[in-house]
Amino acid sequence: MINRVRSRRYRSALSLLSFVMPAFALYLLFLVIPMLQGSYYSFTDWNGLNKTYGFVGFRNFVEAIRDDHYFRSAIWFTAKYVVCAVVFQNVLALLLALLIESRRKAKGVFRTIFFMPNMLSVIISTFMWVFVFSKVVPALSEHKGLSFLGLSWLGEPSVSFWTLLIVSVWGGVGTLMLIYMSAIQGIPQHLKEAAIIDGAQPLHMFRYITMPLIAHALTICIFLTLNSSFKVYDLVYALTGGGPGRGTQVITMNILEEAYQGNNRYGYASSKAIILFLIIFVITMIQVTVMKKREVEA
């Protein structure tokens, strides 16, 4: 009897493993092992090429946080970018969702227009923006009398910061808008009607009906934007290349520069990557825990 139970359990485990094995093997090879190796190398001075390397303990981490001027300014720049990108993308996406949902006609057209950039490769669409900022905007400022546009959009770090945001909002709001739209559609009709009968003005409606009932969408969207903004790379690469100088360098770029491009300090770059991972992990965990508590059921 016991034998039969055991053999059945054994068989079921075997069948489980046979279904899971192909996916698990790929996952192990290309995600888990590289992750473990990367974590291990972050405690070494490996250059990414040599057969030999030394174990340095936490020295990489200490150097990155205490002494690495470029890394610290990249963290600072990325932090500023994350705050602005998360706020602007979500505010605009929510605004678009509300405006589109409030319309009776042409919903689909507007949805398509605002979602369009999300289909394109970031590299390719950002090159279009490079054209706009290097050829079209100067022409507008010279010939059409819009002289306030005559800034050095791609050449001056303090201006390029805003250029980055203009492009990142353009490319980022589409998906968020869709999530907000589906949340708004999910608000029960009778709640809206009750509020209108009670004489609620549109702003009150937004504050007391819409906002609380789309709180779950807000949690998701802020999580998504935090995550993607901390890891931003393609956009900055295509728009400014991190320059001029290192004026617009983000964390991911600093890590790549350290691992390749002549520096070849792979162990050191890995420890920076671990720091990035920890920053994202801690911040998104706090965000999700805090925001989950504020969600309500309709």
């Binding site: 227009i113 394109l120 994202i280």
Partner: protein
């Protein structure tokens, strides 16, 4: 009074924002038909003569047939791998109780937080050791490995809504476990499979950093890599560059035009459930 103002104001704001969103695409299309001197002279005006030869030039010089084919290989390999392996694993993990199944599922889900930068160099090394570096097919295989976790998560959730009686009756009728999966279960996973295909299509078709690291030979380049190289090489020849940007975006725009409703549904589902 206010009833009139709101719709008009809403329309105005939407129209203004639509200009912001369409402007760069419109400018790129407009100027892709001009020649260099006309772009420098009058960038805002309509092209005096429509030059389609910019497109044929770009198509030839950027070797788009080859890089388009490479992109298709990467995308198809990745998507087939992800859909096939994740549906098997997600289904079985969802149906099996017990610590082994829960533990495996948790491992897959937890790994969704790993940022690519943490693994990129060791991943490149792994791909080189396995002989997967330098070929679009190899890149597709690596992408399948990176993409299974999210797909398993989505399948796992979806399978909960598929009645258990279906598998049981199939097994009772003498159908093997694998045949039951492919004949009965997999067709029922259609909606979530579509979502997974869409999400991964956008990722694989447009990805940049991973292909840069894995494809070190320009003959294996995907469209995005080719355009990036092209942009560096012909940085002042805007007609050529703009035409190449438009050309390389066309396939995905056409797909979008045909499947818009399902794609939008798929992306919303993927985000809300994931």
């Amino acid at each position: 009074m206010s009833r009139r103002i709101y719709p008009t104001a809403a329309w105005l704001v939407l129209a203004l924002l639509a200009v912001y969103f369409l402007f760069p695409i419109y400018m790129a299309i407009l100027n892709s038909f001009k020649n260099q001197s006309e772009i420098y002279r009058s960038v805002l005006s309509w092209p005096s003569t429509v030059r389609f030869e910019n497109y044929s030039d770009a198509f030839r010089k950027a070797n788009m047939l080859k890089s388009g084919l490479n992109t298709i290989i990467v995308t198809v390999t990745g998507i087939v791998g992800i859909v096939l392996f994740s549906s098997l694993a997600g289904y079985k993990l969802s149906r099996t109780r017990g610590r082994l199944s829960q533990g495996l599922f948790l491992l897959f889900v937890a790994s969704m937080l790993i940022p690519f930068q943490t693994i990129m160099v060791t991943l490149t090394k792994m791909a080189r050791d396995l002989g997967l570096q330098g070929s679009p097919f190899g890149l597709g295989v690596v992408c399948a490995g990176l993409g299974v976790n999210m797909a398993i998560f989505l399948y796992h959730g979806f399978v909960k809504g598929v009645p258990r009686e279906l598998d049981e009756s199939a097994l009772m009728d003498g159908c093997g476990e694998w045949r039951a999966f492919f004949l009965i279960i997999f067709p029922l996973l259609g909606p979530i499979t579509f979502t997974i295909v869409v999400l991964n299509l956008l990722w694989l078709w447009n990805d940049f950093l991973l292909p840069v690291l894995l494809l070190n030979d320009y003959r294996a380049y995907t469209l995005v890599l080719t355009i990036n190289m092209f942009f560096g090489k012909y940085s002042r020849e805007w007609p050529l560059i703009l035409a190449s940007l438009i050309l390389s975006s066309l396939p995905i725009v056409v797909i979008f035009a045909f499947f818009q409703r399902w794609i939008i549904q798929g992306i919303t589902d993927g985000a809300v459930k994931g």
